[in-house]
Structure formats: C-alpha cells, structure tokens
C-alpha cells in the first residue's frame, strides 16, 4: 500500500458562504483570518463570511462585524471631545481614537490641531496595542480636518469591496462621480459631490456595494447602475451639458 500523502482535506468551495463553527478543512493547511482550529484539529470559521482558499492557507472574508483598528489604517472620524492637550475621536469602533499634538509645534503646523467637537478628521492609526485607545496621527499630506462634503457609513467589512482589487472600484467611482472620495478603513466614507444628483447616486452605489458585496461581478453591476442613472455621460459630467 502506498503511504498516505499528507494533504489537507478542504470541505468547502472557494467563495462559499460559511457560518460560525462551520468546518472548512482538516489537515496541514494554515488557518488565516477568522479561522480557528478546534480540539480535534478541524479548521472552522468564526464568522459569517466567504471562504477564501489560497495556496497553503484558508481564511474567511467576513460579511459582518465591527471595526477593530489596525496600525497604518486610514480612518475618518468625528472629534468627540477636546480635553486639554488630547483630542478624542469617534472612529466608529469600540475603541475611541486619540490625537495628541506633538510638542513644539508653531504657526500653521500647530493650527492643524485646533479641532473642536463635531469636526470631521482624516487620520492614520499610528499605534494600537489592542487594549487602550488607538493613537491617531494627522501629520502628513491630506490628513487632518475635512471641510464640507458628505459622509456615508458602510459596514467596515465592505471597505475592501468599495476600494476593490488594486483600487479598481475606487477609481471607477472617482472617474464617474468626482475625484473627492475618501474611504476610511472604519467604514466611514467621505465624499464631496458636484451636485445633489451626484450625491444621491453615490449613496445608491454605496448601498448596492454593501448589499451585494458577496456576489461576484459587483463592478459590472455598479457600472451599469451608474450608467443607467442617466445623469452622467462617460466623462462623469452632467448629461445634457456641453
């Protein structure tokens, strides 16, 4: 008899909808995000999501869940409190963000930190240890207070779909609906529409992405929605306008 090859047994197909506790695989394969190994060595999902099978790894792309900060994430938040030198920011997470202005800033560099409650800010997660409040930074080009525009809240698990592979979806949205779109990893999307029509279409598009993200062919459907809306020509300007 041939010796049994030590191959993992995979129990789901790629992009299958999986539920918490569902067995995904047995054997030598690495558990990725949202996968755990039970006492008998079975790899199981911890969330509702889509199975993602790769070379030597199985993970779950979640379809539900809240935002947990990660270092390096770009987030959009609202200043909730300014207490002395620290600025607390609501970043749509169980962990409120903190901005601490560096010492020794003067002039314009310091003015950036003149924030008050209610201000919308774009910030980067500088440090997060998983327990205490994540430290945010607004040092850097484009970071800091966001003026004007609108905000749309989407489930944070859908953010990768709003951005798309190699930013394809985001580029599509920018080319059709105006270049001023910022997608926070925390599911807060800021955009500055050219008109109310653009704004309403943007809302429709984002709602569609949120609802249909688990079905493939999303970009095509989004493109069709934008085109069928009839308010834009291919250049992204108002139809009927010369």
């Amino acid at each position: 008899m041939k010796p049994e090859r030590n191959e993992p047994k995979i129990l789901v197909a790629n992009r299958d909808l999986v539920l918490p506790g569902q067995a995904l695989a047995v054997g030598p394969i690495r558990p990725g995000d949202y996968v755990y190994v039970d006492k008998k060595g079975v790899l199981r999902s911890t969330k509702v999501g889509l199975a993602d099978i790769r070379e030597g790894e199985i993970r779950v792309v979640p379809l539900a869940g809240s935002y947990i900060p990660r270092e390096g994430d770009l987030v959009v938040g609202t200043v909730s409190k300014v207490a002395g030198n620290t600025i607390l920011v609501n970043i749509n997470s169980a962990y409120p963000g903190v901005i601490i202005p560096p010492r020794g800033l003067r002039g314009r560099a310091r003015a950036k930190y003149n924030l008050s409650p209610g201000d919308l800010v774009l910030a980067k997660v500088k440090a997060f240890d998983g327990v205490s409040s994540p430290l945010l930074s607004i040092e850097g080009e484009g970071l800091g207070k966001l003026v004007g525009g609108r905000v749309y809240m989407i489930n944070p698990t859908r953010v990768p779909r709003v951005i798309g592979k190699r930013q394809s979806m985001l580029m599509l949205l920018k080319s059709k609906l105006g270049p001023e779109i910022i997608v926070g990893q925390n599911g807060v999307i800021w955009y500055n529409p050219k008109s109310l029509k653009h704004a309403l279409l943007m809302e429709q598009v984002l709602a569609k992405i949120e609802r249909e993200s688990h079905v493939s062919g999303l970009s095509d459907r989004v493109l069709r929605l934008i085109e069928s809306s009839g308010i834009l020509d291919s250049q992204g300007s108002e139809a009927g306008e010369v």
């Binding site: 199981r44 911890t46 379809l63 169980a94 205490s132 688990h214």
Partner: protein
C-alpha cells in the same frame, strides 16, 4: 382573582403518546427565524417557536460604561432577559424580577463558551432578549435567538448555540414541552449545545427523573437540537442567498 383561571387538562398525554396539542412525544413545535430584523442594533434575530415570540438584539463590541467594569484581557459579556408586560395571559409587572435575573444569568452562561471574548479586550458585548409572547420554553428560545444575533453582529464565535427543552409527562419523555406540560408536567430540562462539537453549555433540571429517563431526555434533546440547528443556519444564510437569487433573476 385572575379573569382566566387555567385548569389542568384531564389528560396530558394519551396512552399512545398524543399530547394536548396533538404532537407526538418527539415532535417540535414549528420554528421560524429571521435574522437582521433591527437596523439599529449590530446584530438581531426574531424567532417564533410555537406560541413564543422572541426578539434578540446584540450591541458590540462597544465601549464599556461604567468604565471600571471593563476587563483588560477580554470582552465583558452582559445579557438581559426581559418579558414584555403583555407577554403573559395576566399582565406581567414590568422590570426585572427574581426569575428574569436568573434567566439573564443562565442565558449569558449558555452563550459565553461560544464567543471568542479574548479577541475584544476592554470592550462590552450586550445581549438583549425580549420575550414578546411567552408559551413555555422561553429561555431556550432566547438562547437560540441570541446566538444568531451574535453571529449576525459579526462577533467571532466558536459556533452557534442551540437550545431546546425536554420534559417528562408521566412516564413519557417529551421533546419541547408546551404550556400545559410545562405547568403540570413532572419534570423539565432545558439544554443548550455548542452545536459543532455538541458541548453542553446549559443544563437545568426541575422535577424528578430516573437515570434512564434522564439519559433518554439528553439523547432526544440532542436530536431535536440538530433539527433546530438546520433552521438556524438557514436563517443566517437566507438574507445573503436572497440577494444572490435576486441578482440572478435580474440576469446581471
């Protein structure tokens, strides 16, 4: 004196095992579940089980208030079981009472092993179980709905928890006791399982049973839980499947 005086039925179970509502000893009452019914909550589920109507909502992980209750190494799981004043034949006095405090505790402990609390240190996960209409077995209905609400909230879990009650009526071991059997039966055992590995997370017993009856009761509970588990899984999948089918139908 209440307007409606409930009386014990003359026969709770016939010689050939027909129960007051016409079920056989192994039959469950009909179960219907819908997930994601509350848009303001992070996760929710609505469950109809026989005459029970249960709404479960989950908020979290979120900031802990009061702050001193936060745990440094894991999430704080809080649970509230509450019966609506209109959920019983006679108006129930609103607010927590001895019974609902106990049920909050057992529901919390039934769900506890299923959640990876250590993935959310310093936060709170709040579970609310609201009984809109009660008809025996509300604690198991509450656990079953709450587990789905947790999954719907996207909280990392080892698996779903499914609960069911079994009881003894005279010499019969019956699955999913109804109101009459709950009231006048001889014993009642609510059981909750962490389904994938069939670990028991809740087991209570009131009323006497022989060892054989108890073993049989656990066996029947396990079988009944398998059936309920399928309904739970289907309910979790349904919203996503519906969108997929809708897109197919549109031909996109």
């Amino acid at each position: 004196m209440p307007l409606i005086v409930e009386k014990k039925p003359e026969v709770l179970i016939t010689e050939d095992g027909i129960r007051t509502d016409g079920r056989g000893p192994l039959d469950l009452r009909p179960i219907k579940i819908q997930v994601g019914v509350l848009s303001r909550a992070d996760g929710s589920a609505y469950l109809e089980w026989g005459g029970n109507r249960v709404l479960a909502a989950v908020y979290g992980p979120r900031e802990v208030h009061p702050k001193h209750m936060a745990l440094p190494d894991r999430a704080l799981l809080r649970c509230r079981y509450n019966m609506a004043p209109f959920s019983t034949p006679e108006r129930k006095r609103p607010g927590p009472d001895r019974r609902s405090v106990e049920l909050s505790k057992v529901i919390r402990e039934a769900l506890l092993p299923s959640i990876f609390l250590e993935r959310y240190p310093g936060t709170a996960i709040d579970v609310f179980v609201e009984i809109l209409r009660s008809d025996a077995g509300t604690r198991v209905a509450g656990v079953t709905a709450a587990s789905l609400a947790l999954a719907d909230a996207g909280i990392e879990m080892r698996g779903l928890v499914t609960a069911v009650a079994v009881g003894r009526v005279e010499d019969w071991v019956v699955v999913d006791p109804n109101h009459d059997e709950d009231q006048w039966g001889d014993a009642d055992i609510p059981v909750a399982f962490l389904m994938e590995e069939k670990e028991i997370t809740l087991l209570q017993l009131d009323g006497p049973m022989t060892q054989e009856q108890f073993d049989r009761a656990l066996e029947l509970a396990s079988q009944a839980a398998d059936l309920i588990y399928e309904v739970q899984k289907e309910a979790l999948r349904r919203p996503y499947e519906a969108v997929r089918l809708e897109i197919l139908r549109r031909g996109e």
